[in-house]
Symmetry: C2
Subunit: 444 residues, 2 copies
């Protein structure tokens, strides 16, 4: 790749013609994430309206910390985020857009800590009555554990609760582990439930987790960065999100299932006022109180970022272009396509092995090459199937025909996980995915 | 504003014509941050090449966590960041782009803590030999204090070192305060030096601070989010940045003096390998070791964000379009214009009062209305001059002719702080700024 590209930063300017060639070369060698044969990440596809929104955002080139310099965009944030909280099932509350789900989860952690230990902001860990502990499933996104590292708990105080064979937190284990830590004199204060795990697309049981949080006085966070879009679907919302309104905070990334351009991540709180009291540093040069407008519209002091990219316009414009109904249809369509893929895998069960019936648009499967067809499925065969995943992936990349991700998990070696989150995907593309994997892997 | 705009998120889609009107309305009522009469923020202006870069970025719509899905952009990051470290004065090292200077500063804090207390990641504050303390000047950006809050030190363990009348940290005070905390049994470990303060544009003395850091075994961070651009200027780099190569980490925001589109912020480390060992959570689904390429090009495990917006292309393209020489000329031009403004203020000393000779493009001044001209300058007069700042600002906003920010500081009531960071500004625009303030404020 280095040989193909001239990436040098010269002392003297290159001319306009060269810049145009630079752009063309970049697009030529860059991965086509909007192509319907890109099934590789949670964010696939390219929504043209959202893209137009991002172009306007670039042109308006402003920062989101004060109403003064982003009046229209700040009002849009208020409208969209309030709508999203309504969809979650809350009246009131507060929200913010953050640079990705990991930072959204960090905001939830910080707000929880501040709510339960308001002295922490000033006095730090030294002012606490004991060791704080947080809980999450072993299938959670790694940003949850990262909070424990960043914020001074230490990763050993982020307890990984075992999950069942479908990737859902075992809630009896959650309760047992909370009691175990309490017996040590620790202070359980935060439980993360995942609504749509990264690999398997599993949904933790929110009502059971809410019961436990209530019983042990823990903050309940729902990381719906991935699954959040299904809140919009009457068909798929239940039972996946049943009980979500009992959470204290919810992360939801429109840049995933909803197809907004990268990045577009939201974090929502049931209680209003927490974000500001948690994160406020009251920089007097930016957030003066003698301004000519209602300063409650300034958002900069609610976040740890100061400057904040405008991530709202692309979502607002896209939502206008689809309507809430259109978003719902899109979610249903993606789920239908994943079910279509599952049926096709079942129909070709000599060539493909479905690992489990999916709850989301993640489909987990192995490809079975000729030499292994008919061989009974056991641990040895899984090991062989795992070994060929990187080889098939390498062939996909060499040929440039398809992208599907693979990874191991705690229970099994490498397997493919395809994602259908692009609105451009059709049944024919799903067939192509399976056929192409067969073409690439038959001889392995 | 709410009456002027239809921001509603409807159930049913609006048509394309309406979407185009939405875009036009948004641009109409949004602040024109690219206009040469916008002197309000550290980031002003609109570089057309950087904007084109951002459009392509949107079109390519990818994430920066793995080489697999962002090969061209990851290589660009390597080239540009390596060039920036070379300009700082380092061989080797490591860097990353972050969503804004505040998060860049947080990365520096985390790396410092990890370097000095590697057990912290796993064991948290409980595993430390004592209370960690950090130091920064009272003129620093508030994100430094925010690190103490977020990461468990508590804001009372972020010591604010007094600054002199020009806004520069008093380094003898730094040493005294370090010794004071050591005497209490605390552990000073991190000193932030600011290269370009937000309000006054002051530069802390880096060599003196480096000497103290060396003596007391503290990590030295330089927050050059604002002033970083001047590293490119042979005329202005010294004495402002003399000693910068002695720092352990440097924040530098190309979206400020260099005019890259929002957001574009970089954080640089002298030591390679720290970012990864500090932030790595080793998500096995994303950062597998059996990939078909050199996984040292994956960046996702170096950051606490997982997903990361592509902030490099707009900067790379802009740099190609100007060359390093062009960037240097641009920095010199901005500084010349600020000096022009200073001269014009001196020439109109009946109407304007310059607060101090600036070190950067921040110019701090009061406007003197007719009734106060010739009145001796004292605390009472300053109080009066401070009162009229919000009124003039209100009139600017009503008329829509100009934007210049004002704020108080520890030493004085409200005063104007203009910023010349837009390449579109000319001498005529500087004259317009002063004339327009006069027109708006003469009668106050």
């Amino acid at each position: 790749m280095k040989r193909l590209l001239d990436l040098d930063i010269p002392d003297r300017a290159v001319n306009l013609q060269q810049l145009i060639e630079d752009c063309a070369t970049t697009l030529k060698y860059q991965v086509k994430t909007g192509h319907p044969h890109f099934f590789n990440q949670l964010s696939c596809g390219l929504d043209i309206i959202s893209m137009a929104g991002e172009w306007l955002t670039a042109t308006a080139n402003t920062n989101m910390f004060t109403y003064e310099i982003a009046p229209v965009f700040i009002l849009m944030e208020n409208v969209v985020l309030s709508k999203m909280r309504e969809i979650i099932g809350w009246q009131g509350g507060d929200s913010i857009l953050a640079p990705g789900g990991s930072i959204s989860n960090l905001y939830a952690f910080l707000a929880a800590r501040h709510k339960m230990f308001p002295d922490y902001k000033e006095h730090g860990a030294a002012g606490l009555p004991g060791q704080l502990v947080m809980f999450t499933s072993d299938q959670c996104h790694y940003s949850i554990k990262s909070c424990a590292s960043v914020c001074g708990l230490g990763t050993e105080n982020c307890v990984m609760v075992p999950s069942d064979e479908r990737g859902r937190m075992i809630t009896t284990e959650l309760e047992r582990l909370i009691m175990q830590r309490k017996a040590k004199g620790h202070i359980p204060f935060f439980v993360n439930a995942t609504a749509g795990t990264t690999v398997l697309g599993a949904f933790d049981n929110l009502n059971e987790i809410a019961d436990i949080c209530q019983k042990y006085n823990c903050w309940m966070h729902v990381d719906a960065a991935w699954g959040g879009g299904l809140l919009l679907s009457r068909r798929h919302r239940h039972p996946r999100f049943t009980g979500v309104e009992r959470a204290d905070s919810v992360t939801w990334n429109p840049h995933k299932l909803m197809g907004a351009l990268l990045q577009c991540s939201t974090i929502h709180f049931k209680e209003d006022g927490l974000l500001i009291s948690c994160n406020q540093m009251s920089a007097e040069y930016l957030f003066m109180t003698d301004k000519q407008y209602d300063i409650s519209y300034d958002t900069g002091d609610k976040v740890i970022q100061c400057g904040r990219h405008n991530d709202i316009f692309k979502l607002w414009l896209q939502w206008r272009s689809k309507g809430t109904d259109g978003f719902e249809r899109q979610q249903d369509r993606l789920m239908d396509l994943a079910q279509y893929q599952v049926r096709r895998i079942h129909e070709q069960s000599d060539r493909f092995h479905l690992i489990m019936e999916p709850e989301c648009v993640n489909v987990s499967f192995w490809y079975i090459p000729k030499r292994l067809r008919g061989v009974p499925h056991d641990a040895n065969k899984e090991k062989e199937l795992g070994k060929i995943c990187p080889i098939i992936k390498g062939r996909m990349m060499q040929k440039g025909s398809l992208m599907v991700g693979y990874q191991p998990d705690d229970r099994r070696p490498n397997f493919f996980r395809s994602i259908i989150s692009s609105a451009a995907v059709t049944e024919a593309d799903v067939d192509y995915m399976l056929d192409e994997i067969h073409r690439l892997g038959d001889d392995l």
